[in-house]
Amino acid sequence: MKPIVKLLLEGGSLNTAQLAQVLKLSEADVNRQLDELKAQRVLLGFRPVLNLAHEDSGVVRAVIEVRITPERGGGFNRLAERISRFDEVESCFLMSGGYDLLVFVNGSSLQKVAAFVSEKLASIEGVLSTATHFMLRSYKEQGFLLDVKTEEAERLKVSP
């Protein structure tokens, strides 16, 4: 793994100047490396991780198990990519086991998500069945605990 990628994962929210200082590069070099990673599609982007319950965002999220028909030559890819392109779809994975795709979707209301499933997703030719599970509450997002107060563990300021 490239040093800059390791540092991005490890350093949390370091800004470009801080990244440059740790890596002993100029800020321009850091930006150039980040651009390269983006061009290679290694670095896809940055997003904040929010506790949506506090934002009163009204976002409804669901996980959908989708069974699809594999196609000669392309397997599951064409359909999976097609499904992934919908704005409502946050992530989409090919799975082993009882269904083929696990699709994470969100929408502004339960009705909108339901409509997406019945009108857009289920009606695609090749989609055999869907099973939709609405998320009720989140406990951990992208490695961050929610609602659990992460008190700064008290370390003595000086110890032997």
Binding site: P3, G12, R155, L156, K157, V158, P160
Partner: protein
């Protein structure tokens, strides 16, 4: 009534730890970035904590054998065998202690007759000299030097040796210097120990945090297992300082002697900590390596920064401490550390807290976040520049 006259003489004469003086100053200040901490910034990995919780849930709240849970001693024996190339029988060559500190204390009390001399390299962990004194022994410090990257040399051992020396205490990699010895140096020290008929107490608490080369335990050198007490614990590598859990491995007769002291003073280590320690040994390796990698990268950063700033700093091969030379500022280590704290609110521990020959150096712990290290190094830079401007 003056109650102080009741205190035992050897306790009255014990110096107060230099760290405590410094702690008093720092603890009264706000917004301090502290590089003065001697423990990991990571909390104990969750699976280990969870094992402790589970131990409570299933009613593991009783005494254990004095030597410790046999399951833990077996795990220790396996871990030490695999990682340090020396095998100990879990039945009678391993004892579980309340941290390495207790292991060191009971080893001293079990082995030292009044007046026996004990060698240890300095700068060193703050409790070595007092442990010897409390066991009525005589401390014989052996200096290590920046020019050797603070490795212990046989030349220094020979120069310091005197008739009556019985024990040699090693702490490699070393707190506070990060210095350690390669295999050839360890072999030379082993030869010296055999020649002078010394028992070696080898505190290898930082051994997993060795960044360059392979850590060699002196116990694994031919002829040394029989005269070495291997001391280790979970505090540093597994981020378990507060659990107070460690162990000693050695010849059965010496472990039995240590066990006598242990059973009449400590009885046994906390069973909850012992259960958690089993989990750490069986499944903690990946998490430990992840933490080590992070310390490694942070070390490279902070050492480079010290050298850029003009505080000459050798590359510590192990531990999570950098030990920069601050004498170029024209100040001694105490004045520098206090000045830095007052002007920029960054805490480093003056090297003399770890022995007289730590003079001119400060200890900086890099087990803290990148943000803090970056900010601390920038503040130190500003302070050093302002000192230079005043000159």
């Amino acid at each position: 009534m003056d109650s102080s006259r009741y205190i035992a003489k050897h306790v009255v004469n014990l110096p107060k730890s230099g760290i405590r003086d410094f702690f008093e100053i720092v603890s009264k200040m706000k917004d301090v970035i502290s590089l003065g901490i001697g423990e990991p910034d990571f909390d104990t990995p969750w699976h280990i904590r969870e094992a402790g919780i589970y131990a409570l849930e299933k009613g593991r709240t009783h005494y254990t054998s004095n030597l410790g849970l046999i399951e833990l001693r077996r795990a220790v024996s396996k871990y030490v065998g695999e990682n340090y190339s020396v095998s100990y029988a879990p039945e009678n060559e391993v004892i579980i202690t309340v941290g390495v500190s207790e292991a060191l204390d009971i080893a001293c009390r079990a082995l030292i007759n009044p007046g026996d001399k004990v060698m240890f390299h300095q700068p060193c962990y703050v409790s070595y000299s007092p442990s010897v004194t409390l066991a009525h022994g005589v401390a014989v410090p052996v200096p290590t030097f920046a020019k050797d990257n603070f490795a212990l040399t046989v030349e220094a051992l020979r120069a310091a040796w005197q008739p009556g020396c019985k024990l040699l205490m090693l702490n490699l990699p070393c707190n506070p210097t990060g210095g350690t010895c390669d295999r050839a140096q360890i072999e030379a020290i082993a030869k010296f120990a055999i020649e002078k008929d010394l028992i070696v107490l080898s505190d290898e608490i930082y051994s997993e945090l060795t960044f360059e080369g392979v850590h060699t335990s002196i116990a694994s050198i031919a002829g040394m297992k029989e005269r070495t007490i291997f001391l280790h614990g979970f505090s540093k590598a597994f981020a378990m300082t507060g659990w107070r859990i460690g162990y000693a491995c050695g010849p059965a007769t010496l472990i039995e002697a240590m066990m006598k002291v242990h059973q009449y003073s400590m009885l046994c280590a906390s069973i909850i900590s012992q259960e958690a320690a089993i989990e750490a040994l069986l499944r903690g390796e990946d998490g430990m390596k992840k933490m080590r990698d992070q310390y490694h990268r942070r070390r490279d950063f902070i050492v480079r920064r010290f050298n850029e700033i003009g505080l000459k700093c050798h590359l510590p091969r192990g531990s999570f401490y950098a030990f920069p030379d601050v004498s170029a500022t024209g100040l001694n280590e105490k004045d520098f550390a206090v000045g830095l704290l007052q002007a920029e609110r960054v805490a480093m521990v003056p090297g003399t807290a770890f022995g007289a020959n730590g003079s001119g150096f400060c200890r900086a712990c890099f087990a803290t976040s990148y943000e803090q290290l970056i900010e601390a190094s920038n503040r130190i830079e500003r302070h050093v520049q302002s000192l230079a401007a005043k000159k």
